[in-house]
Symmetry: C3
Subunit: 269 residues, 3 copies
């Protein structure tokens, strides 16, 4: 049954007609396909954040067909791909980096380049190229029937800069922010450990447009009101939040900017 | 069949990855589960409005499993609950008031406290605690297998202040506003009757940030353009709207603020 | 199987409780109904844009029941309709123009006026009148059992003004804008041809609140950064975009405003 699950991730906007068009293609191909909307609020054209979100959500549905379209280069030279994964699942989307992390995480074993009809509209490959391919895979068609074999090791990767750590200091790039104003960093638990960010310490957080006092803690409610919280989020990333507040607004955080967490020395006794 | 329906209500944001993560858990457990998104645009952390919306939507699907997460205290001391309802349905969510009105409306007959793994991430109980419990209930598992029995009469209630009425005047708290700028009050038809708000009367409405002339009417189009409309909404609440306008903006309405409707004396003959 | 597909299009807002209420009605009637959200972000009360979007998305699911509610006149005199289409599908919604283009495109063969219970709430016909009718049609009930037969040729049409063309100039009304800032015009490929807008030409685009240099091209990436792109969109409409930018903001575009594309003379040699 799991072969009939198709997940969707785009930057098309929640409940927009573009999302509806993808669903319509899938249902027209087979109303029995189980459709799962992963996310449609990816910031416009933010391939890197889309790739990160796709990789972590796909882990829970490793046998599904994952249809992902964050594609600012639609109609230009980037390849359109369909990929078979080690666990039985598939990926379908543009080869612009979006599929890179999930291809590594779930193991790309075969890949084909999807043909693009030069006579068609050039601006909606999600509807015209990717969704039809996802529907065919969900119905059990062989990957090789969909296009020309290419090397699965050649799938484009997004570049996520490594954080810089020194004793008591972590400097990392901002991956993205959510509706709660939680700021997710391109840093993971091992980076927090390397910087000595231990639960209970005080810290100062400096973002692109603001700064604030913080505590390193396990969850939001562990901080007094008004304090920022530096924590390991539910995906294993270092994140900054404000309990009942909006850390992203307070720090002027935006994807691609840098954020520094510096442990605050205890006051002299 | 109805036992396999799971509804979802959160403040995670429309088509956000957090919503996608809940769906992924349900589908991974059983792709045959029928998923119904009740709402994901509940204002951030607004437990009371989430509770009101959940209670009225759940009435139409009394045998479903209702998964609800508006949970500003995630990771703190509040209990995680699963509840069996008189009509065969279930509730799953935090015991912070969100489940209170629906537990009363549909009759909570048994309840268990869900165990929380202290080693897990502390910030996404929706994915890690509540959605897995909802999936197990949807698949027919016994409530008692999910946790420790607790008293179903002890489910936390939200407090909704009672409106104040006097002849010709209704003063009530604002429960919430929708995309149309319609303002919903914590007052019901009997309160409107007690204040003598009868269809056809003129009134003045005063909100936290503005005021306007109104008519008491049955629907939006019953008022001349530019006039506010005081009406009984489709859920039985007193509400204020502006035909083809945005009453919430005009009145500066926000959840928790107060709003007064005062009948305007007819001009002397 | 396709008779069990119900599509939904509204201006209720993404993942709002109003959308949830429609889904709840459908699932309560029959959990096996396959539900497809076409769009819920139609600008508030924009009947014309809703009608255009509905018509193009419905083409791909011609046998489905299409439930559409953009209904600023709810509770007023406009009729509530259910319509049988030539290909086997159905339409359900207010007779305010929203159903006009799709009724023409897919061929309305029979229609009934749905009864409206005068005792019910007057503000949520989507939940109380239209969704129940859609559910009954999806379950195979005869159209004639739902209401009183009316002339299918009398379905209200929206008026979309024709563009004005002269050599090198296209002036058209703005139908709508999407999340990407792409501006869709009430003009189609034949209008672009009539105005001589040929791929590769330079042009100036003037909108209600701004102007910019453009190229006539096939897709976004065909323009240098900062240039606008005039193109034929994936639905066959003339549209204006900015590669990696927001054309709607730059041109001050809003539905109902006018936009002019004028071919720029080549500089004298």
């Amino acid at each position: 049954v799991s072969a009939r699950v198709v997940t969707l991730l785009t930057d098309y906007g929640p409940h927009s007609e573009h999302v509806g068009a993808l669903h319509a293609v899938l249902v027209a191909a087979d109303p029995e396909i189980v459709r799962v909307d992963f996310a449609h609020d990816i910031p416009l054209g933010d391939i890197r954040f889309g790739a990160v979100v796709l990789a972590r959500l796909a882990l829970g549905l490793a046998q599904a067909v994952h249809l992902a379209v964050v594609d600012p280069g639609v109609g230009s030279g980037r390849r359109a791909l369909a990929v078979r994964l080690a666990g039985g699942g598939c990926l379908v989307g543009p080869d612009n980096g979006l599929l890179g992390p999930v291809a590594v995480a779930l193991g790309a074993v075969r890949a084909v380049e999807l043909p693009v009809n030069p006579g068609r509209a050039a601006t909606f490959d999600g509807r015209d190229v990717f969704a039809p391919a996802a529907a065919r895979l969900a119905r059990g068609e062989d990957l090789e029937r969909l296009g020309t074999p290419v090397n699965p090791a050649g799938i484009t990767q997004v570049r996520v800069p490594r954080p810089a750590t020194s004793p008591g200091v972590l400097k990392a790039e901002i991956l993205g922010c959510d509706r709660f104003g939680n700021v997710q960093l391109a840093a993971r638990s091992e980076d927090a450990r390397a910087a000595g960010l231990v639960t209970g310490l005080s810290a100062e957080v400096t973002g692109p447009g603001g700064r604030g006092a913080a505590v390193v803690a396990r969850t939001f409610g562990d901080a007094a009101r008004g304090l920022l919280v530096v924590y390991l989020d539910s995906h294993g990333y270092v994140a900054v939040a404000e309990n009942l507040g909006d850390a992203a607004a307070r720090l002027g955080a935006r994807a691609g900017g840098a954020l520094t967490v510096a442990v605050t020395p205890a006051p002299a006794p």
